[in-house]
């Protein structure tokens, strides 16, 4: 197995790692960079627990090779809060009780953030379809959708007041 040396940015910080050519970015993040907030639920792109952004695009880390990340910018749940301040989505997930076991939460947060960046005022249906790639088995999604609605509202208000 040939090792591949990769330089990339994770949550804004430069990282370097060596990984086998066939190792997934998920395994790299979890096992080599200790970013265990990125979860593995299936390893085949069907559950969304390993949702990250790659150059700003929402992807499943299990369907990316570590070797592919050379020069790329990776965003994980660990990069969501800035300067000790929780992201409005993180706040809303706690306040609206949008998590029970919490294993799917990091993936949902990353996917929801990606949605709200594209669409700051999504309808319930848009939220449901945008989050369809993230499986949750505890909540029935009810409180997750409400939390995303609430965070979207907070963020829109925040933007207005910042102006």
């Amino acid at each position: 197995m040939n090792g591949v040396t990769v330089s990339a940015k994770v949550n804004g910080d430069a990282v370097q790692y060596v990984c086998p050519a066939d190792e997934s970015l998920l395994d790299v993040l979890r096992n080599r960079l200790n970013l265990t907030g990125v979860k593995e639920g299936c390893g085949t792109g069907d559950c969304g627990a390993c949702s990250i952004t790659l150059d700003g695009r929402l992807v499943c880390a299990c369907l990316v090779l570590g070797a592919e990340a050379e020069g790329r910018e990776i965003g994980t749940v660990e990069g969501l809060s800035e300067g000790g301040q929780l992201h409005p989505l993180q706040e809303a997930f706690i306040e609206k009780a949008a998590l029970q076991c919490g294993i799917c939460t990091p993936g949902f947060l990353v996917a929801a953030k990606s949605l709200l960046e594209r669409n700051p005022n999504p309808s319930e249906e848009e939220i449901r379809y945008a989050l369809a790639g993230n499986l949750c088995r505890c909540t029935g999604y009810d409180k997750i959708v409400r939390a995303v609605q609430s965070a979207a509202k907070m963020m829109r208000r925040g933007k207005k007041s910042a102006r």
């Binding site: 040939n2 066939d22 997934s24 792109g45 790659l54 929402l58 299990c62 369907l63 090779l65 790639g133």
Partner: protein, 286 residues
């Protein structure tokens, strides 16, 4: 296993041609990495084509559309112009998996994976798309329906790969539509699907193409179904005739995703709904 990420199509073709073991092209990776994970394939070489600039290009014009092999499906939906020209192709591409999958998967990858249930393939065939194939001996252009030979099998030589698919010029009142049936609203594989591409003149169908997915080893073009629509305003009799033609063209299997009986029946339902949707999009009214 080796990992290479060439920056030119020529370098990519050379890498593929000179590999003595098992080589695979990596575009979006949403099928390839799953097959690797399940142990279905053990490549000796992976050639990542996403660093080839020309393959990342999406060119959209009324005179023709070119979708590079490394263009993720999500970008198709982001092009308003493409959505208005080829709404059926875009909706098919955007039905592949979740947003997460959309950020990676490509139309060319969907084609080369050669699944009978591939979402974008019936829509591409209905659109009359061509695949641009590169290899050491140069380039060739073939109709998309000539690429897939059967489940998991393509007509590409081992040192060839597809650099793009192109859609023809769009003229007159034309539109396409793609519909699939899945038990879940998202995150599912088509149990059966249908793509319809129509051109109208004064509300009358001038030309038509009807293609079914997941009802045979490859996507099925149904000329009799198209013929049933041509010259009509999609009246019920024409639609019934088209539905019957579609069902007659089905040759599905019983598997975990559906039965022969169910696929055959619902193929007609999907075709009817897709035809009506394409008709309306093309400006027809009933």
């Amino acid at each position: 296993m080796r990992f290479e990420s060439p920056t030119t199509t020529k370098a990519a073709a050379t890498l593929l041609g000179s590999e003595s073991g098992v080589a695979h092209v990596l575009a979006g990776g949403t099928d390839l990495l799953v097959r690797m994970k399940m142990g279905a394939i053990e490549p000796d070489l992976i050639v990542d084509i996403k660093r080839i600039e020309s393959l990342r290009t999406l060119k959209v014009a009324a005179a023709g559309v070119q979708i590079g092999a490394a263009v993720p499906a999500v970008r198709l939906g982001e092009s308003d112009k493409l959505r208005s020209l080829w709404p059926g192709v875009v909706e098919a591409a955007n039905l592949i998996g979740s947003d997460q999958i959309q950020g990676r998967c490509t139309v060319v990858g969907n084609l080369c994976n050669a699944s009978p249930a591939a979402d974008s393939v019936p829509a591409l065939i209905a659109a009359g798309a061509k695949a641009l194939i590169v290899g050491p001996k140069g380039k060739r252009r073939v109709a998309v329906e000539k690429v897939v030979l059967g489940p998991g099998r393509t007509s590409l030589a081992r040192d060839e790969f597809i650099e793009a698919v192109v859609l023809p010029a769009r003229t007159g009142k034309s539109a396409d539509a793609y519909l699939r049936f899945t038990p879940r609203t998202e995150m599912d594989i088509a149990v059966v699907s249908a793509a319809v591409n129509l051109t109208l003149s004064r509300g009358v169908v001038q030309s038509a193409k009807v293609v079914l997915g997941a009802v045979a080893p490859t996507a099925v073009i149904v000329p009799a179904a198209a013929k049933a629509l041509i010259g009509t305003k999609l009246d019920d009799a024409a639609l019934d005739k088209m539905v019957a033609a579609c069902r007659a063209a089905c040759n599905p299997i019983d598997d975990k995703r559906g039965t022969i009986e169910y696929r055959t029946k619902v193929a007609g339902v999907m075709a009817r709904r897709a035809a009506l949707s394409a008709y309306e999009r093309a400006g027809g009214s009933k």
